[in-house]
Assembly symmetry: C3
Homo-oligomer: 346 residues x 3
Amino acid sequence: MKLKDLAARIGGAAIGDGETEILRLNTIEAAGPGDLTFIANPKYAARLDASRASAVIVKAVPAGQSRNFLVHDDPYYAVALALKLLCPAPGAQIQPGIAASARVDASAQIGSGVHIGEFVEIGADTRIGDGSRIMTGCVVGRNCRIGNDSQLYPHVVVYDECLIGSRVAIHAGTVVGSDGFGYATHAGVHHKVYQIGRVRIEDDVEIGANCTIDRGALNETVIGSGSKIDNLVQIAHNVRIGRGCIIVAQVGIAGSTVLGDYVVLGGQVGLVGHLEIGSGTRVSAQSGVTKSYSGGDYGGTPARPMREYREIEAHVHRLPQRMDELKRLKSEVEELRKQLAEMRRP
Amino acid sequence: MKLKDLAARIGGAAIGDGETEILRLNTIEAAGPGDLTFIANPKYAARLDASRASAVIVKAVPAGQSRNFLVHDDPYYAVALALKLLCPAPGAQIQPGIAASARVDASAQIGSGVHIGEFVEIGADTRIGDGSRIMTGCVVGRNCRIGNDSQLYPHVVVYDECLIGSRVAIHAGTVVGSDGFGYATHAGVHHKVYQIGRVRIEDDVEIGANCTIDRGALNETVIGSGSKIDNLVQIAHNVRIGRGCIIVAQVGIAGSTVLGDYVVLGGQVGLVGHLEIGSGTRVSAQSGVTKSYSGGDYGGTPARPMREYREIEAHVHRLPQRMDELKRLKSEVEELRKQLAEMRRP
Amino acid sequence: MKLKDLAARIGGAAIGDGETEILRLNTIEAAGPGDLTFIANPKYAARLDASRASAVIVKAVPAGQSRNFLVHDDPYYAVALALKLLCPAPGAQIQPGIAASARVDASAQIGSGVHIGEFVEIGADTRIGDGSRIMTGCVVGRNCRIGNDSQLYPHVVVYDECLIGSRVAIHAGTVVGSDGFGYATHAGVHHKVYQIGRVRIEDDVEIGANCTIDRGALNETVIGSGSKIDNLVQIAHNVRIGRGCIIVAQVGIAGSTVLGDYVVLGGQVGLVGHLEIGSGTRVSAQSGVTKSYSGGDYGGTPARPMREYREIEAHVHRLPQRMDELKRLKSEVEELRKQLAEMRRP
């Protein structure tokens, strides 16, 4: 695609030779002829000099540069749009049809244009919407619903009764609907509390690989529409995640905690159970959240408001010097006391 | 089931209309006619007013309430018992039989009433006890033993030689018996130390989804009877977990660490290797345990006795004020010193 | 094998009866006749008295001991070597051949002596080198390369286009090549940034169970030769890991971070994205690395040089006493001030 056409289609402006043919996206370092690259962060502009890219997506043309640019208000968004124009969509090469080895229950309802891969099992009464792709080795239990144009990568397991929306992507090895961790301990025995709820994943959600999303104890665990979850994340029973949340890898959310919309949890964050986390709340990586918060930025274990956390961290960092000062001050006070006592002596 | 009959069978007392028909359990908010709900924590009693539940499990009837109750000494245990009476047991709907696509080695011994699902592989000399359910896509290696009435959810992988007891449940994607992480580094090369031990999981254990339980280096990694393990937990080689332990999601236990009985580890806790953790020890979420402890509660990284941890945390929290005080004190002492020097001047 | 022969083959010396027949390795406690055991750490030498082992690998014969020893400069390396002589290599019992249920694309090129297990799928244009073992239920996508003598344990998923070297072992449930976590948020919508790169795993790498290794956004995620990765580890897109690194369980490395050679990351460590971690850097368990470092030991969240971290931790540990001292000092200064004021009174 010509640079000028690409720019027009993604709402940017071509600077330089708009006729330049763009074949693919690449990194600044690896790009060569035919490659479009990008600078999302102006501090990397110096790397441009050495780049052999045919054109560069930027927010503004750096001073003194005379190469081809695609100027866009939101460079990273421009990258996303350019990739959509230049590359096939994930799963686009997967052909509709049901593999010979797949075991699809006779009562299951499979939409049109659906792909059911090898060694897949689809349980009784389950419905799969048009255009969805259930890849090799997936197991979808009984009475599940999967919407349209969703993609389950290989070896995803969906337990009975779970609901998955449209345009949902779930990466390999993720388990949806496993039992929540509920036991009633009585006379030294941990009695299992049957987990009879389900999981409901709304539209446009993407979930990474090898995550675990437990079913509700009595009703639902919910992942709200447009939320994105990274790899190896644990979502416990009854958790409700709002719309547009971003949950980075290895986060764990304990039972019955509720997140509002657009909550951002950094990698390896943990949330205890029964919290209410308001919309827009952001938690930095590895923090441990033990209280409910309604918006704002938090960090540390136990998590505190980010400004407070940073202030405390700075003090902790200076503790060795401060404790030396305290020690010296003790000596000084002792010395003053002696002098004073001497002066008061009759 | 009538409320009065249910109460009688679980050792509680029906208050109000004992003839009320109870069909299922539900949450306070979602419950409607036919639903039994519960208040395990009296602080939620206020929510009762708005509930449409037909009856409520409580420890004691709240003042001024005139609806149907099921009074039980241990409400959460009562919930567990009621669910067992009103709902089918997990796996109850799974039919005995060996799926056509399953590959069961001719030398394997399969008990009566066993379910072997689609795309399952059972290795040579492996024995599976009566009533166990090996669900879709599980792989059980050579010379393994699985007891009676155990359930392996889809895609569980059990490596060769591992032992699993009776009434054990292992959720989807969990790996039992993978190699421990053992290398002898010599002249810059990490030489693999063959892991020739096994895993032994005792009776009545439940293990969550996508966990990893490594085989012993030379002998056994052990999960003691009645212990319950949540999702995404890592158990390293030679670890020995006692009876009745509770291990919450994303915990990691390093090699050769030994837990006594009824140890409780909160979510994302890490234990270094070669520790001995006594029976009844409890560790709060995200803590990092670096020493052996014999009972008691611990928190923090490195973990300390809980009282000490809380005291230190409180001091850390107040560091900004205290360090201000220290600064002011320095000025005051400096001022006093000046005054004193002035007075001593001849 | 006779003790003297074993000693000769692994570069050690037999002390005592070199004719003693050695059948296997075992722990000090469990060893019996025919068993060789070892003491890698001299502090465990006291346990020797009770051991029934036929011989013991040691660095030096403990004083006053008169049993059979195999003396070796590097006892743990000697254990690794002895195991290689006495036990079959991992996967040695797996027979070459393609299982009847496997689905191997007609365009795939399968080397000689390759094992393709039951329910395996191999995609178009993929090449698998001589002697490699692709165990039950693995899914290898299109246009992948796997070298010689590598082993994929059951249910490993390799997405399209990924490269895996020779003598690589990947344990069950690990996912290689899943999409990196990349979204461009525009007008409240998280737009997926297609992940069009790949994963390249070099020779002699071992990866544990249920790990996730994301493909590069535009080019490669790399695991360098001889590096060893434990279970449940998350490697994000564009990460580059050097040679000989050791990455313990549940570590998470965020996007575009680069590790040099022989970096050691303890369990549950997290690294934020876009860091450069120099060769030989070591990070203690549960630490959170937020800055680039070039070698040395680090600990804590945020991670600091280990000496500094330990010093700060010691001060934090003593905060209760120090803050008591601060309080007393305040009283003393107040008292001195009063005395001084009194003396200055005319």
